[in-house]
């Protein structure tokens, strides 16, 4: 006990310990910043790709013949099917919506709801992006929620012009 007190009261080498704490603090701060920007970039990338998929699905499922009568209508079942096809084929997700790059798990899409309406032709995808960070041992896996929607209101016939 007395030995420990002596060590604590000894002011020799204080500067060295201070430098160690400072370096640790700076490295931790840098790691937090890098990790934050990495996850932000991943989230934006996935959100962009999902938005494109939702737009594609709505565009593909539009019932063009209704436009002659001045209304826009969509085959909602086809839109949902097309979106799932996009998730697997274009985004490269497996059956559980996991994304792997070079054999390494990157993220998982957790879809809470997929609402498609025929009229107005709208597809809304709600869910979250589950990913891992280097601070997972403290925070667990990170969930980043997203809501992506696409509406097509065009009533003029087109697509071949």
């Amino acid at each position: 006990m007395g030995h420990f007190r002596r060590i604590m009261n000894n002011r020799k080498g204080g500067a060295f310990v201070f430098i160690l704490i400072l370096v640790f603090f700076i490295l931790t701060l840098a790691a937090i910043l890098i990790e934050y920007f990495r996850m932000e970039s991943l989230y934006q990338q996935v959100e962009y790709v999902l938005q494109r998929g939702v737009n594609d699905s709505v565009e593909y499922a539009m019932l063009d013949e209704y436009r002659r009568d001045g209304c826009s209508r969509m085959d909602s079942a086809l839109a949902e099917e097309t979106l799932y096809e996009y998730l697997h084929e274009s985004m490269g997700l497996d059956s559980d919506l996991n994304k792997y790059a070079d054999g390494q798990w990157v993220y998982k899409l957790e879809i809470e709801s997929m609402d498609a309406t025929d009229d107005p032709p709208r597809l809304t995808l709600k869910g979250s992006l589950k990913t891992r960070s280097i601070f997972s041992f403290l925070t667990g896996e990170v969930r980043l929620p997203f809501t992506i929607s696409s509406v097509n209101n065009r009533i003029t016939e087109g697509g071949s012009q």
């Binding site: 494109r52 737009n55 594609d56 565009e59 593909y60 539009m62 063009d64 996009y86 274009s90 697509g159 071949s160």
Partner: protein, 161 residues
């Protein structure tokens, strides 16, 4: 007069007041501060001039992303895409070359079918001036920059049967 009396300068010893000034240590912190400030300013100027390379690369990346988005939305390499490209060229002051690769046009035109992918590549070279001597041409390095972004058409083209 022996060597000891002559000092370090020998026969060519400077006049006494100057010698006194050189060996006088008063006010040395002031000169030290001036030199340190000059060094810091030079370092900052160097870092800032290097930053311009990254800014140019980010601008090129932004240009490419914007053009890809236009092509995605239009579903074709239209005049709008070139308009955006030329406008961004003017705004950023860059003069890259744009090529569209890995693309399969449909209907023998510049149309890209829904979900078909394409790659927009922009190449440019950034001229980094190391220094500009008044008696000779400036010493410059050409840094090649290349950005490739893959997009996917969001437009469905009705093709004749």
């Amino acid at each position: 007069m022996n060597r000891k009396h002559r000092g370090i300068w020998g026969r060519n010893s400077p006049p006494l007041p100057f010698k006194k000034l050189l060996f006088n240590r008063r006010g040395s912190a002031y000169y030290e501060l001036i030199i340190k400030t000059l060094v810091v300013i030079t370092l900052m100027a160097t870092v800032m001039s290097f930053l311009s390379i990254f800014t140019a690369y980010l601008n090129l990346n932004h240009m490419c992303r914007r053009v890809v988005r236009v092509v995605e939305l239009e579903g074709q390499v239209s005049d709008n895409a070139y308009d955006v490209f030329y406008r961004l060229k003017e705004q950023t002051g860059l003069s890259p070359e744009m090529t569209i690769e890995d693309v399969q046009y449909c209907d023998g035109s510049q149309k890209i079918q829904l979900r078909d992918t394409f790659t927009v590549t922009m190449t440019d070279s950034y001229v980094f001036t190391l220094f500009k001597p008044s008696f000779a041409p400036p010493v410059q390095i050409n840094i090649p920059m290349k950005v490739s972004i893959t997009g996917m058409s969001e437009k469905y083209w009705k093709l004749p049967e």
